[in-house]
Subunit: 351 residues, 2 copies
Amino acid sequence: MQRAAPQEFTRVLSSMCTEPHPVAREAAERFLATNPGDPATYQQIADLERRAVETLGEITRLDAPHGYIASGGTESNIQAVRAARNLARRDDPNVVAPESIHFSFQKAAEVLGVELRIAPVGDDYRANLDAIAEHTDEDTVLVAGVAGSTEYGRVDPIPDLADVAHDHDALMHVDAAWGGFALPFTDYAWDFADAPVDTMAIDPHKLGQAAVPAGGLLAREKRVVDALAVDTPYLESTSQATLTGTRSGAGVASAEAAMRELWPGGYRTQFEVSMSDAAWLADQLADRGFEVVEPTLPLVAVDVPESLFSALRERGWRISRTATGELRVVCMPHVTREQLSAFVADVDALR
Amino acid sequence: MQRAAPQEFTRVLSSMCTEPHPVAREAAERFLATNPGDPATYQQIADLERRAVETLGEITRLDAPHGYIASGGTESNIQAVRAARNLARRDDPNVVAPESIHFSFQKAAEVLGVELRIAPVGDDYRANLDAIAEHTDEDTVLVAGVAGSTEYGRVDPIPDLADVAHDHDALMHVDAAWGGFALPFTDYAWDFADAPVDTMAIDPHKLGQAAVPAGGLLAREKRVVDALAVDTPYLESTSQATLTGTRSGAGVASAEAAMRELWPGGYRTQFEVSMSDAAWLADQLADRGFEVVEPTLPLVAVDVPESLFSALRERGWRISRTATGELRVVCMPHVTREQLSAFVADVDALR
C-alpha cells in the first residue's frame, strides 16, 4: 500500500494545508472509524477532543477554553458569526471586518442572513482602525480581525479591534485559522491573553500539521457555544453545537496527536525554518527585480507577469494569486528550501 | 502501529457509521493530505470527487448528477434548504417535513433563518400526505422526505411528496443519508427516476462503508448547486459551493474507492446479510415478549424497560433511544450475527 502523498502534492506552493506529521497520520488512521459527533457512543474520541481543545487553549492562552474541533476555519468562522447573531438578537445584524478577511465570512453572511461590512485596509495590508470604527454601529454583533491573513500573512491590531467591538456591545472574533500555530513565536498581540477576544478560529490541519479535517473553534465563554446548540433526539448525547453532525475522528485524533508531539518546541522549530525560507525566497525574487510583499509570517506574495505565472503553472507548480494578482507562495511544512530553489530556478528559466 | 479500530467500536449498535471497507481505508490513508476544497491545486482528488458523484448518480438513477462529496448528511440537508431558500427568495420562507425528519433540519432552519414546519407521521411512522399538504403554502421553498428514517428506518411516500412540493413551486429533497445504499435493493420508490426529486442527501460514510467525512449532496439541476456558490478570491478555482472550505481528501477518495469496489454487488450482499440479521434480532426480541417495531430496513427499534436499557449500557453496549424511548439497534456492516447473539444473551441475563 502506497504511504506517500499523491505525486501532485510535491509542488504545492499555494496550499494552507500540509502533509500531516507522522504521529498525526498514525492517529488519523487509528481513528478513521470513529465519530466525535456522537460523543457518548465514541467516548475515547470525545476524550481526545477535550484534550485537543485544552491544548488549543494553551496555545492561545485561554484557561478553561470552550469550543470543539471543527471541520476547518470556514466552519469556525461561520459558527462565530452564528453565535454572535443568536446572542445579540438584532433585527438587522451586521458583522464588520477588514477587506483582508477570509472569504468564508462572505459565505457566513450569506448563509446566516447577516450583513457583512467590509472596511478597507491600510497600505500595510492590515485592518484600518478608523475604517473599522466607521463601519460599526448598534446593529453590529461581531467584529472580526485576522491574525495571519490568507493573502499576505498580516496580523490585524487585535486589541484595538476588540475595543471597538466591545464599545458597541459586539463580540470580537480572531481568525487565526492559518496563523495560530506560528504566532505564539512572534511578538504580535493576537491571543486571548493579549486582548479580550471572545472567539477564535485556529486550525490544527494547517500549520498545526494535523490531518484534514481538524479546525478549531474556541470561545472564552460557555454561553457562546451554548448559543449554537441544537437538540439531538436519538443520539446518546443530548445536544450538538457543531455545524456538521457526524464528524471525523481521524481529524480530532490527529490534531490531538500532532499538538502533543509538536507543542511548543516542534512548532517553534518549524516556524523558524519556514520563516527563514520565506525570507530567502523574498530576497531571491527581489534580487531579480520583482516587487515582493515583505513576509511577516511564512507567506510570500510577489508581483510577476501573467505570462510567467502561467508558464510556472505549466511546469507543474501549484501556485495561486491574490485578489490583486500577486503570486502567493505559502511556506508550509511540506515546502522545503530545495523545493523553493527549484522554483526560483524555473523562474529564471521562464522569465 | 495498531490498525484495528479502537476497542469501544466493537459493541457499537447505535451508530449509523461503520468500520470503513479495507479499500476505503487504504484510499483514505493515501489521500489524507489532500484538499478537494482547492480542486485546481489538488487535481487528482478533484477527479476522484467527480467520479464519486457520477457513481452516486448511478445509485440514485440520476444522469449527469450535480453535487459534491459533503462532510455528511447534516451539511447536505443544510445545503438543500439553503439552495431552496436562495432560489425562491421568499420574505418568510418555510420548509415542510414529517416529524421523522433528521434533527439536522432543525439546525438548518435555525442557521438559515427558515421556518421549519413539522407534520405528524402516520401509525406506520411515515410522512402523512394530508398533514404535509396542510403545512405547505406559497412560502414553502422545500418539502423534505426521508428515505430510511433515523429512528425506525422508514421510507416516506417520495413521489407523492414531490407532487405536493411541485404543486407549490417548492423543491423536493430526499434525505437518504443512511438509507441510500440499501434502498436500490428494495421495492421502494425513492430515487431520481422514481420521482421528480430535486435534491438528495446520500452518505457514503454510512451504509456506503467509506471513511468519515464522506456525505453526498446530489442535485438534478445545475442551478441548485450554483445557488450555493460563493467567490473564492485566492484559490486557483474561482468559486465554491460547499458549506465548508478545506475538505477531506481522505473522505472523498475513500468514498470513490468503496463505491468502485462495492457497487452494486457488494452493497447488495451486505444489505441482504444486515436485513436478515435485523429480522433475526426482531424475532428474538419479540419471542421474549418485547414490543418490536418490524424492521423494513436494517434497523430494529424495541420497547424495553429503562432498567434493562441502563444495565445493557453498563455491560458496554453502545445503544441509543428513539425520541419515544425505544432502544435502537442499527445493523451496520460492522454489526455481526455473533455480536447480536451476545447482545440477546445479555438481554436474557439482565432482564
